[in-house]
């Protein structure tokens, strides 16, 4: 297989691993990190294809995705901290108050 196929396959595998990681892991922080992995997978495919097309549009989009990821982490982690302070645990199964 050529490089493009390799990298795109890698990208999809990283995305799937991240998604499954959110499903199977119980620790909230680990779930957040798996979401970051998903994001990385997507960025890889963006970069690959933008390099193929030789356009800076893709690179700019990647940069914006970085910014969004940073902002997202900046908010998500404090939320997790607050939740952990309330329930004194990081276990995702403890947070089922919205049941029913």
């Amino acid at each position: 297989m050529n490089n493009t196929q390799l990298l795109l396959s890698l990208s999809t595998v990283l995305f799937c691993l991240g998604l499954v990681g959110v499903i199977v892991r119980r620790n909230l922080l680990v779930m957040l990190m798996c979401m970051e992995l998903m994001l990385n997978g997507v960025i890889l495919s963006l970069v690959t294809l933008s390099q193929q097309a030789a356009s800076t549009t893709g690179a700019v989009l990647v940069f914006l995705v970085f910014v969004v990821a940073a902002a997202e982490i900046a908010i998500a982690v404090p939320i997790v901290l607050l939740l952990a302070r309330r329930k004194h645990t990081l276990d995702a199964d403890a947070f089922s108050d919205l049941k029913g």
């Binding site: 499903i23 199977v24 108050d97």
Partner: protein, 622 residues
Amino acid sequence: MLTLIVLLPLLGFLLNGLLGNRLGKAFVSAVGCGLPILAFATAIAAFQSFQAAGAPLVETAFRWALIGDFAFEITFYLDRLSSVMVLIVTGVGSLIHVYSTGYMKEDASYARYFAYLNLFLFFMLLLVLGRSLLVLFVGWEGVGLASYLLIGFWFEDSVKAAAGKKAFITNRIGDAGFLLGMFVIYSTLGTLEMDEVNAAFAGPVLPAVSASLIGVLLFIGATGKSAQIPLHVWLPDAMAGPTPVSALIHAATMVTAGVYLVARLSGVYMHAPEASEVVAVIGVLTAFFAATIAVVQTDIKKVLAYSTISQLGFMFLALGVGAYGVAVFHLYTHAFFKACLFLGAGSVIHAMGGEQDVRKMGGLYRKIPWTFGTFAVATAAIAGLPPLAGFFSKDEILWFAFASEAGGQTWLWALASLTALLTSFYMFRLLWLTFFGKPRMDEHTAHHVHESPVSMTGVLVVLAVLSAIGGFLSIPHFLEPQLPLPAVSGHLHHFETPLIVASVVIALAGLAAAAFLYGGDGSRAARMQERFKGLHRVLSGKYYVDELYEAVIGRPLVWISDRIFLRLGDRVLIDGSLHGLTGLARLTAGVLGRVQTGSLHLYVWLVLAGIFACLAWSWGHV
């Protein structure tokens, strides 16, 4: 001018209805009586201009609807027949309005009474002056409405209110036939104007529709409105209303609307021998049937109610044998003496402080002489004693029932004569029981018996005079150009004088029988009643017709309405389907709500499933 005649009573209704309570009894009386009197004066003026013109007056008020090529217009039409009718309606109507000012003086709902009475007059005038069957039908329904409102005038009493409902519903059943008749006429002849309908049947080529079918259907409507068998049951109950209402609506005008309808469409009936036969037979049977019931009634108004049904039967008998003008003549004279009788009965009730049972009356002739005098004249008129009005009109009916070539048969004449005998008998019975003999009332009532005020006795005198001389207005002769008298076969002519003599003898025989049985102390009547106990019971129970209707029609209807429509249709089907829908929604929500477990892992797993589904779908469809 014709429009003015119709609109004056409507104005009275609006003024009395809206402002009457505020402006007091004097205003209500002035408007309530003044406007009908004005309408009567206008009617006379219209009549004179009709005489001068020589041709029917036609006045279009406005166009109601334009459907396709056909324009439904509100048109008023004054020809010989409707001029006779409009004079009776406004004339007798005005007299009864004046009488009401005295009779209803102490009633709390004085303004409402006059408003309704004026409303009735408006609709009745629409009925008689309308050119099209549609306008007549509007008037027909309107008088039914006014009758319901006035019968149930004292609606706080549920029995009286029920009587009003009975009248209206029975009328509606007849109206179904009327409507079907109108549909047939319109679909085959293309017009509802009554003069055009008559003309269509008068031409050399008859329309391709059975005249008898139209005749029978319209007659069904007439049986409802004019209380013939089998829809006569509402009229006796209608006596629950105030007595002037009984006089105006249920004696002089509204119940004659059926007679007017058949007479107006005489062109159709002349070509419908089967329908005419039906009319005549039902007329004479009703007359006999009602007369037999009247013989045993003890309420003064009920006797007069059955008498009205009987006299209407006579009118339909005349219509059925082709003597349309004679029927209208009898309508005319009947309006005079029956109104006089009813108003006289009202005067008696007024004098007796509300008592209506004749078994508690007696010996009143000295105490209320004016009422007695007018009542006696009217009783003689209805019995057919010459030279009073009833003699002329009833005799003509009997003659044509015997001799008319358009359906006269001997048995019709025989049954009608027997009915005339019964009529004379029960009317004089009523006179004797009410006014002669020893007083049978209690002390308290006896003290209070007093003559009625002039507003009431004056009207009684006018009507009695009209009952006496009314026969000399030769109405059939006046109507002959429009409503020709039927031909009489030559060999029957020599029966004419013997029949006249026979009818006089019959009237006198009735008088004699009543005087014999009820004169003196009335014990002979009591012994007769003992001997014929069974017959007396059946007659008192009015042949149990009401009970029959209740058992055959009333109870099954109530059962169907309850079991099928209420329990099955409404509760199970309609409510059930709605409840089923909500139940379904609740069920679905319950099932779908199980997705929300509060577990984040499940939600993300569902995201994965969703991504997969989208991919799979896009492959199938891209």
